[in-house]
Amino acid sequence: MLGRGVKRKWSCLADLEAEALPAEKQKNGEEGPGDEGGFHVAPSESDMSHLQQRQLVLGLCLEKLQHYQAGVELSLRRSVLLINTLRQIQEDMQSDGVETCTSETLLNDVNADSCLLRDDVREDMPVTCPGCSEGDGDDLPLSPPLSPEFPSQEANSSADQPRSLPPATISSFSDAVNAMGYLSDLALDDIFEDIDTSMYETSDLPSAWAAGSLWPISVSLWADEDVKMRPSSHASAGSLQSCLMDLNELDHIMEILVKS
């Protein structure tokens, strides 16, 4: 994280502001950032629009949540703060409702995993990733089950069917959860008792699942035994719906993976 003399590229900010504020950077250029080997902050960000900032923060948030060092326990405080920020963005997006589907710039620079953050959206509003947006106009409801979306053209067929996550995301999430160790004080028996192990016999499963990881079902970051389907009406129970997958979806995802 601390660049040793390497100039950090504030790529996100730079991209956003490249068009907007070229002059600003010149002004502050006399003591350029990154000169002394420490790291510095980018010049003024106040002119970033709310949407742009939200998009940026969303991407960063997910990136931070997914990035972890194997073998080192994550800070619970940090994770809680990140998740809360994610929730806040989610609520903000919800309240923004109408604008989201029209704005193409929204998710441009955010990595595909940000698609996870979709739920509680009203039925008439297909919030989709840029990849999905073409030809998905009439492909609607995110109505139950709540599901993450993914720019996959094949999964267009049925509106009810959840999109699949990229396999890499699934395993990295579960690995991340393992590393977080939130479940350390739970009896391991409780965790395993309602897991249906029949699905783990598929050889295509990412290894993390098959290893009987602590968090096999849900990709919620610290949830425990909750593997049941969540109807959308419970969405606002305060839990991070966007990261949950239930058993049925998992089945479906496996089908898609096997096909592709």
Binding site: G38, A42, E45, L56, S75, L76, L81
Partner: protein, 475 residues
Amino acid sequence: MEEESDTRKINNSFLRDHNYATEADIISTVEFNSSGELLATGDKGGRVVVFQREQESKSQPQRRGEYNVYSTFQSHEPEFDYLKSLEIEEKINKIKWLPQQHAAYFLLSTNDKTVKLWKISERDKRPEGYNLKDEDGRIRNPLTITSLRVPVLQPMDLMVEATARRVFSNAHTYHINSISVNSDLQTFISTDDLRVNLWNLEITDRSFNIVDIKPANMEELTEVITSAEFHPQQCHTFAYSSSKGSIRLCDMRQAALCDKHCKYSPLADHRAILQASAEQEGGEGWGCEEEEVEKDFEEPEDPSTRSFFSEIISSISDVKFSHNGRYLMTRDYLTVKVWDLQMENKPLETYQVHDYLRGKLCSLYENDCIFDKFECVWNGSDSVIMTGSYNNFFRMFDRNTKRDVTLEASRENSKPRAILKPRKVCVGGKRRKDEISVDSLDFSKKILHTTWHPHENIIAVAATNNLYIFQDKVN
């Protein structure tokens, strides 16, 4: 035994002669003891280095009590949690001294999981003249002994030894962020993200959980405990701060479990916990006049300043009672606040530490600096408060005159015994000669840990792996 020399020598007044910087040397905590005679530092490598103040000598009055290395020991070692396949860092998170009662010194040091009580004692005599072994320690042949003698204590070179007297472990699932010794000198609390545990210093296999904010369903977790401290005089009162910017003042006499779910339960019997005297009725013996009630200290949020980072920057990184026990100081990302214990709805005073960063929160979020936890500290008379910032800057606020100053802890900018020059950050527009612009601040140089001598104007500031000790100007 030869004296262990610490490679981290310090120039007492203002500079450090430290030439290399390994990660293990990063100082993670600093603390003066209650007399100010000793200064302890803990580092990322699990070591504790204790400095002792030299006795003032008449022959060299200008060397007014410099601090020299007194003892160095390895407090914690890295461990491996086999169940979770995770390493437990040996980094010392906090050190707290016990007030000195005898010749030896005692301190508590903690890493993420284990608290240890260390005894630091001096040995300056040793017995000589054993009968059964000679001076080298070799056993003598008893047949060669023709006469007996009584061993005599002879002076020897001063040896300082540190021994672990207690190990308090296996009580924390999450990472310990603070420890605090009770004014009763018999108990202490250790705090992790979700729980506060009360220990008796003599008993290591049992602790009492007095705060537990873990929700039944971890998915509903939205808040963690960030720090906790005992009241300096009232041994039944402690405060803990949260990641949402609130502080709760708790009274252990009210309930066995001091959290929001058991706020007003009937009195629990704490005699087993507190081995203090039985004069608990009406708070006698504790200097408390009125009945304590649990209080929540929180300032209502200003909706106009709400952003995606509002919660993160409101997260309290440190909470400290004033020495007189009337105030509470909290540090969040951008401000330091002083609270009157009698007034929970808003702070008495708010000081801006580095408000120029408010417009940079997005960048600071990206580089993770927004999660930095700065400590704050009172001076002995509670008239000045101090906290750290970036670029090796630290700030002092005089509560009476309302004046503040920014100083820098760096070798380049200070010469021995020179007065520190106040620094200024320029926020925009024209930058004056000595000012530094916000964009040039080095965010890898952060002063997270500072401590103030209990009686005098001597401060110790940890700048990554360097320790700076600053004193008031000597006339």
